[in-house]
Assembly symmetry: C2
Homo-oligomer: 397 residues x 2
Amino acid sequence: MKLNSGLIALEEDYVFAEVRQRVQRFSAQNPDRKVISLGIGDVSGPLCRAVIRAMHRAVREQGRRRSFHGYGPEQGYLFLRQQIAAALTAAGAPVQPREIFINDGAKTDLGGLLDLIEPGSRVLLCDPTYPAVRDDCRIRGLEPVSLPAVEADDFLPMPPPGDPDFDAVYLCSPGNPTGAVYSRDQLAVWVDYARANEILLLFDAAYAPFLSDPALPRSIYEIPGARCCAVEIGSFSKLAGFTGTRCGYAVLPNELSSRGIPLQALWARHQSARTNGVSYVVQCGAAAVYTPAGQRQTAKAIAQVKENAAVLSAALDAADLSYWGGEHSPYLWMKCPRGLSSWGFFDFLLEYGGLVGTPGIGFGPGGEGYFRLSAFGDPSRLREGGLRLVRAMDYLR
Amino acid sequence: MKLNSGLIALEEDYVFAEVRQRVQRFSAQNPDRKVISLGIGDVSGPLCRAVIRAMHRAVREQGRRRSFHGYGPEQGYLFLRQQIAAALTAAGAPVQPREIFINDGAKTDLGGLLDLIEPGSRVLLCDPTYPAVRDDCRIRGLEPVSLPAVEADDFLPMPPPGDPDFDAVYLCSPGNPTGAVYSRDQLAVWVDYARANEILLLFDAAYAPFLSDPALPRSIYEIPGARCCAVEIGSFSKLAGFTGTRCGYAVLPNELSSRGIPLQALWARHQSARTNGVSYVVQCGAAAVYTPAGQRQTAKAIAQVKENAAVLSAALDAADLSYWGGEHSPYLWMKCPRGLSSWGFFDFLLEYGGLVGTPGIGFGPGGEGYFRLSAFGDPSRLREGGLRLVRAMDYLR
């Protein structure tokens, strides 16, 4: 057998796996020291009551002959697609239920949607960016093209000059790992560029729930013309703490087509071959996020993460460190002090602070010299984390 | 953008979607006639009590700060992998937990595992076969090569003569759609062939729970040498009625490698980029299948499907129709009478019997002239279905 050369060529270790290993080694050598993680963007707390209630109800239905659900629609249940469409529409991004495709988490479709594009095509990715997309490109025989996201542009790169030599672009706003948020005007430039050059725009809105300024766009479909060029990916992971429960969605608008081929129909065909849909119980839980109780309860959890982020911001200010993000994002993106490399700062912070964060290099070469802190987690642990950070920095003075 | 030419080239409609449309049209035109489906292989009844109990418990855990689960291991929770490994080992196919990878249903990995192989490679598929795999090949830029599964061989094709010009082969036993079951000796020939020619053997064991003859192999790993060449795919859909709950697994043995590259590590790397694992609640439900209560309750449901299959067999005998399967499989594969095409027989059976089955052509050109009946479903409906089948056949005399 000839193995997939793109898959074989992937770097040995995904950044989070390497982080896990280094922490395990440290904990084994220092059994008395309790490590605080400001690393992976996992959820802070349990699922909210509205979701739990809906999931119990769904489990009960699955246990009774009259109400159990076998194979569901590959695209997801209409009851959930209607809720998502209504929420996007209410937020100023008119979307229809038929345009929504439910998935078991944004990660699945970030890779899966690349199946729409011919192998050998080139995909523009910010550097740094969410690393799974770069890996997905290589697995699928697509060539990732790097678009530097640098301090001077506030980590919000605009379309590169000259004729584009790529077929798709992946943007994430609020961004992972930088927390940077595109303005409406900036996204309008990207949309015009994508339309003029027939480029597929993959827009990752997983962190939109953290936006608090109504002037900032929550959905690419707030931008005129986006329905002709953009797929949006949303997630319940950050919105409602679904990291261990698994649900997300992709939006493929009616107008999205290439040379007369509607991408919505093509994606529906793809999904009929590739999936049997998402667990009924999980979809019922996701739909409960849109009930009044679900809205109140998830808003409270998000407000808590934003408070956590403010605590970390204050610590970074106190330690006189440069950073970005944290305002409309659960992530704070900081510059490693004293010219340390990102793994160098990781090791320093673990050793001197008992703190874990994510080395920027894990998000691409452009992340070297930077470091990501995540504001997810228990508030008292986060506060302790902030104090440790400030104290640790004393060792560098 | 250049769209994926393999995806664009897929036939317009997946067979089950076309079936759904024809049934909808018939029901709209005949609102007074109640259609009985012997079509899609969906489950007969609700999840068993042991699974329901475990899922309620898991939902409760997800709602409490002390017990909720965020991101789980991409490979699946060890508690579930241990159960699956123990069950396979007890059945005579020694497997370790580290060799098991949990997925959200066999369909996901049947396509996903093709990522292991270099695009452009050729994959041998029986004709007829489960159509999603053929579609997956095309989506991934792999070339499906057809291996005729014909009546003369009891629909159990053996390796083709001459040098193989393909890198992988997909086998399903008990087979979908034919219900045919390979013997140990036959699988031993396939394993030897795969090893001698460095071919990856993808073995779909989704229907193994329906085997009642201990002489027939339930797992490819009962065959010596299989651990060096085969990936096995299992599913909770048929085993425990998880079609709407979504859980399955793939087995990648330690010994499986190609030119020194271990496929287990390669697949772990793939999964770290492509998934964040399966819902915690769902994995807890799946693990409950292996409790004593879960084993009793699922065995009862499977026995019911086998009784249903016996009812359909009796009806086919009474109607003097030729058929295969139904003994170790939920599917009966029948020859269309009077030289009817498979869609011709579909339309006939719908019109004269108010019955829905699956046209053989939907499983590949080799399925033309055949028809699949599924024994999943409510027993009284199945009995009524059998009666209708016999009555309908009178119209053909």
